[in-house]
């Protein structure tokens, strides 16, 4: 500790603390305009100057490190006079229109001018900057109000890594500008709005709040973002019940102040006119039930080609809809057995919603046919990591990534799919960590990578095996860790010996020397500059991965090879290490945790484990629970087509866009006797439903969600529920009650009777061992990370610290194999699918957001220049992509982001659904995940005049 004196007060701080931080910790406020605790000291505004005994001139305190015995004064008359002069200069170049300014009351410049007693400037100059840059729907930059503090520039560079803006010009013509003053959209801007958030004045303002009221007229409520699995807390500013803008809060445990474009601007969909506001019954069923005199038939044209509107349905009261659902489901159970019913639960719904939904399927209907889209994203993570570590989730916390010495990212387009996690990566790289990116596409993070390994889709497993080969030959393995913490090493090692880098290079297209270098950086945790915060000789390396690894017919094998790699180097169980699957949807972790899977009861208790099954049955007060594993998502579709599954209940999922081989999915859904869909919009799946139940969106809900780092966080409703929509858990309870009656099951009243989502969690935690200590009242703003087995347990941010969840880590022998469908003469290219930054999954929410759909309204395919030339496709021109299962037409974006022979298409677009092309015949044998990431396609330039 260092002792110093600030304003005659003794202060003690850790070494490395700045005088500004020390003063703040002692409650002494020093004015500043360019400082931000998450950014490097800038020293540009000169307001934070302090006098230090023994120094002639004042020093800016933001960049001054505390020294033993330092004597600092922060408020002398001379300093105040200088600060007054600086503010005077700043406001001479800033319009003092505080009476009509939207930022009034929330403006740092206004605050310091007030503190120093300056109401006007003593300089008579015109304001040099007059430009108003109003070129996007997210924010407006009014250069008149800019004080050139540079915070926006630095946040863009140091946190986001986009480096879209810089201070251009000199002297009075200095201004924040994009390269060549291009419009924002033509720069590298990712529209995350973090620049808007840190702007101290009204120079950068969210467009949505301009003219809508000042800070003191707004109320604030925060909740957890409903998009990806990062689980950012978002603070919403409201006036008269409507959202004006969204922002991050420094105290948020995951994201701090920073958000991505979806979180910050993607909330307007909730008030969209197409929201479902009352229960609907399709006209053919309504006619059958005598609710409408006109007969009607479902058109045969695919809903992807001709969208069905709400006029295909008639609105009904909740009672009617719920009775129909209960009776139809009961009829199916009675006539065809419980396994003729299947349910898709939702990774976007809360833990409470999911818990009740699986209870409905298991206890009332009596089947384990319950699954959700985790099957389509991280099923292989669960199978692969459970096999090796014993727990299928992120091993470490998101905040630890910034302190890593080496980061290996593979099969994750982190900057677009989990932008806020990519901010952690950027921070680490800026502090000197090395970054290895292994991906077929030159993703945005590749620009920041120390090593970029452009691998052929499906061949990454050879690279990992070869890295292990290199590590073993060079003696970089952690022998102590292997001996003490793991088993099965000898059996596994033999399988690695053949994979010399030269061999892997042939299979993967990655140069052998890059594989060797990557192995060294990862195994030893080497930095490119700076020193590690960790004392050991071996630096800390972490692996981040996502769907590029898992959505494969050998997904489990690839996940296990990453686990082997980490164990071999001892890079597990310590801070900033581990194997970290980045999960796709806001509560995909929680939906799995609470039993939304066909083989697991809540808390990953196998349905085939009789004692555990009996415990859950006893806790629920039911006689028995089904013992056989149920069907997975893709298997359900097959079973529906075959007539084995006759009725489905889909809560907040859209398989009509998200599942592979859509023609097959549509045929399966149409084959059902009864389909009930619970959603917030009339999704492609809902258009095929007999009954549609209107639900509340994440902005209208309470309950909890579990993010990718296993943090259970509390939601708060921001908006009122539209029309007659209900929160999902209420709908499930109402269906459950009526279904039990229809099936003649006698229940205690509390079986489906819950007063709040908190009461649901009280029941759920009792049957879910890893959640046992989690109660709503304990969560607060910080949440708790599971395993949390008791009410006094603090949660577990890092897994496997002393022992692996399964005891010893198991080295699983790896069987490398090529993808199931490889290119051939007829279909010579590989299609790989993924996401766009501006959209989320099947676009039901993001495509109804004005801001988000502005940037990427209809989608596009990425095609390499060489392939485009060969078939005569132009950049921005139309292209047809065809596979053995179908074809789509979209816009081509020709470039070098994908290598020759590879085509990329995001799966958000109903106009060009990537999943019409993907295959569903080859599933990972353990995880049953389809191979979205590799299928064979061909390209055609459409002939003129068509379409």
């Amino acid at each position: 500790m260092i002792s110093l004196t600030i304003d005659e007060r003794p202060v003690q701080v850790e070494p490395g603390t700045t005088v500004l931080q020390a003063a703040q910790s002692a409650g002494i406020a020093i004015p500043n305009l360019c400082h931000h605790p998450e950014l490097r000291p800038n020293g540009g505004c000169r307001l934070c100057i302090v006098d230090v005994e023994g120094r002639a001139a004042p020093v800016p305190s933001c960049g001054l490190l505390c020294d033993e015995g330092m004597v600092v004064s922060t408020q002398t008359e001379r300093l105040q006079e200088m600060r007054r002069e600086i503010i005077d200069l700043l406001i001479s170049d800033h319009p003092l229109r505080c009476v009509t300014c939207d930022k009034s009351g929330d403006c740092d410049l206004q605050r310091f001018a007030y503190d120093l007693g300056l109401s006007e400037t003593t300089y008579e100059v015109e304001i040099a900057r007059t430009l108003i840059q109003d070129d996007n729907p997210m924010f407006v930059r009014d250069h008149q109000y800019c004080i050139l503090c540079g915070k926006c520039v630095r946040v863009c560079d140091e946190i986001v890594g986009a480096s879209a803006i810089e201070i251009a010009g000199r002297g009075f013509s200095s201004r924040v500008a994009t390269p060549f003053d291009w419009p924002m959209a033509d720069s590298t801007c990712v529209f995350c709005g973090n620049c808007v958030q840190v702007c101290p004045t009204a120079a950068l303002m969210p467009r949505s709040r301009i003219g809508q009221g000042r800070e003191w007229e707004l109320t604030h409520t925060d909740t957890v973002c409903g998009y990806c699995g990062v689980g950012c807390r978002i603070d919403f500013a409201l006036r008269d019940g409507a959202i004006l803008y969204a922002q991050g809060k420094p105290e948020s445990p995951v994201n701090g102040e920073f958000l991505c474009v979806k979180g910050r601007y993607g909330w307007d969909y909730a008030a969209h006119s197409e929201r479902l506001t009352q229960p609907l019954i399709r006209r053919d069923l309504a006619h059958e039930l005598g609710l409408t005199p006109q007969p009607w038939e479902l058109p045969e044209t695919s809903v992807l080609d001709a969208r069905l509107g709400e006029d295909a349905f008639i609105p009904v009261e909740w009672d009617t809809a719920l009775d129909v659902v209960a009776q139809r489901l009961a009829h199916t159970v009675n006539a065809h057995g419980p396994d003729a019913v299947a349910g898709l639960t939702s990774a976007r719904c809360t833990n409470e919603d999911n818990y009740l939904f699986q209870k409905l399927l298991r206890a009332s209907i009596g089947t384990n046919n319950i699954d959700h889209c985790a099957r389509l994203c991280h099923a292989s993570t669960v199978s692969g990591l459970v096999n090796t570590f014993g727990s299928g989730a992120m091993t470490n916390a998101i905040r630890e990534i910034r302190d890593a010495d080496c980061i290996l990212i593979t099969g994750s387009n982190t900057a677009e799919s989990h932008p806020v996690i990519s901010y952690e990566v950027i921070r680490a790289v800026k502090r000197g960590a090395t970054l290895i990116v292994i991906d077929p596409r030159r993703i945005p993070l590749a620009r920041h990578a120390t090593l970029y390994l452009q691998v052929t889709p499906g061949a990454d497993i050879y690279v990992f095996l070869s890295m292990m080969n290199v590590i073993l030959r060079n003696g970089w393995a952690d022998a102590d860790f292997i001996a003490e913490r793991t088993e099965g090493f000898e059996d596994f090692v033999a399988g690695v010996e053949d994979f010399r880098p030269q061999v892997a290079s042939l299979a993967s297209g990655v140069p052998a020397e890059l594989i060797e270098k990557a192995a060294e950086l990862y195994a030893l945790g080497r930095r490119h500059q700076g020193t590690s915060i960790y004392p050991e000789e071996r630096g800390h390396s972490t692996i981040l991965y996502a769907m590029g690894v898992t959505q494969r017919s050998i997904g489990t094998q690839v996940v296990m090879s990453l686990a082997n790699l980490a164990m071999m180097c001892g890079q597990v169980g310590k801070p900033s290490t581990g194997v970290n699957p980045l999960r796709g949807q806001s509560n995909v972790q929680g939906a799995c945790d609470l039993g939304g899977l066909p083989n697991y009861l809540p808390g990953y208790q196998l349905v085939t484990d009789e004692p555990k099954r009996k415990d859950v049955a006893a806790a629920w007060g039911v006689e028995a629970l089904p013992a056989a594993e149920g069907l997975t998502v893709v298997e359900m579709m097959g079973a529906a087509e075959a007539g084995d599954v006759r009725a489905m209940y889909v809560m907040g999922e859209n398989p009509m866009l998200s599942d592979p081989n859509l023609s097959h999915v549509e045929h399966s859904l149409r084959s059902l006797d009864f389909l009930v869909v619970q959603d917030i919009f009339l999704s492609e799946t809902a258009q095929l439903a007999h009954v549609v139940l209107p639900a509340a969106s994440w902005l209208e809900k309470d309950g909890t969600k579990t993010n990718t780092e296993r943090r259970v966080q509390l939601l708060q409703p921001i908006l009122g529920v539209p029309g007659q929509a209900w929160p999902d858990w209420k709908i499930v309870c109402a269906v459950g009650q009526r279904l039990d009656e229809a099936l003649g099951l006698s229940r205690t009243p509390e079986f489906w009777d819950f007063g709040s989502s908190a009461e649901v969690m009280e029941e759920a935690r009792l049957v879910t061992p890893i959640y046992r200590g989690i109660r709503h009242a304990r969560l607060g703003r910080q949440g708790l990370t599971w395993p949390c087995p008791a009410e006094d347990h603090p949660g577990t941010p890092i897994l496997h610290t002393q022992a692996f969840s399964r005891g010893k880590g198991r080295f699983a022998p790896i069987e490398a194999q090529s993808p199931a469908e490889l290119p051939d003469d007829d279909y010579p290219l590989i299609l790989t699918t993924g996401r766009s930054l501006y959209h989320y999954h099947t676009g039901t929410m993001t495509r109804r957001s004005e801001a988000l759909s502005w940037r990427d309204p209809r989608g596009h395919a990425e095609i390499n220049v060489a392939d485009a030339e060969r078939v005569g496709v132009r950049d921005a021109g139309p292209v047809v992509i065809a596979s053995r299962r179908g074809q789509v037409r979209t816009q081509a974006r020709v470039g070098n982001r994908v290598p020759p022979g590879v085509v990329f298409l995001a799966f958000h677009w109903r106009e060009a659904p990537a999943n019409l092309l993907t295959q569903d015949f080859a599933l990972d044998p353990q995880a049953k995940i389809p191979e979205f990431k590799v299928c064979a396609v061909k390209l055609e330039a459409p002939k003129r005049g068509r379409g």
Partner: protein, 86 residues
């Protein structure tokens, strides 16, 4: 600073501008980050020290004893921005 000086040279200066110039020079010298800021005010401060009477003549009597300044009461708009200094 330039803006204040241009105004004086056109006969538009006020007596208080001399104190204003001194205060500005002091702040810039003391709180600048770079060497340019620390030294740039020196010529002006020297001029104020040795030729204060000349400055006073400009702002009090509105005359330029050396006959070098236009003293025409006009300020070109560009001069308001430090002579459009770029």
């Amino acid at each position: 600073m330039l803006s204040l000086l241009v105004r004086m040279s056109r006969g538009l200066g006020e007596p208080r501008d001399i104190d204003k110039l001194r205060a500005l020079c002091d702040t810039v010298r003391a709180s600048s980050l770079c060497g340019l800021g620390i030294n740039a005010p020196n010529p002006l401060l020297t001029a104020l020290r040795y030729f204060e009477e000349e400055f006073r003549a400009h702002v009090e009597d509105k005359v330029c004893p050396a006959g070098a300044c236009p003293m025409d009461g006009m300020v070109p708009a560009s001069a308001l921005r430090a002579g459009g200094a770029t």
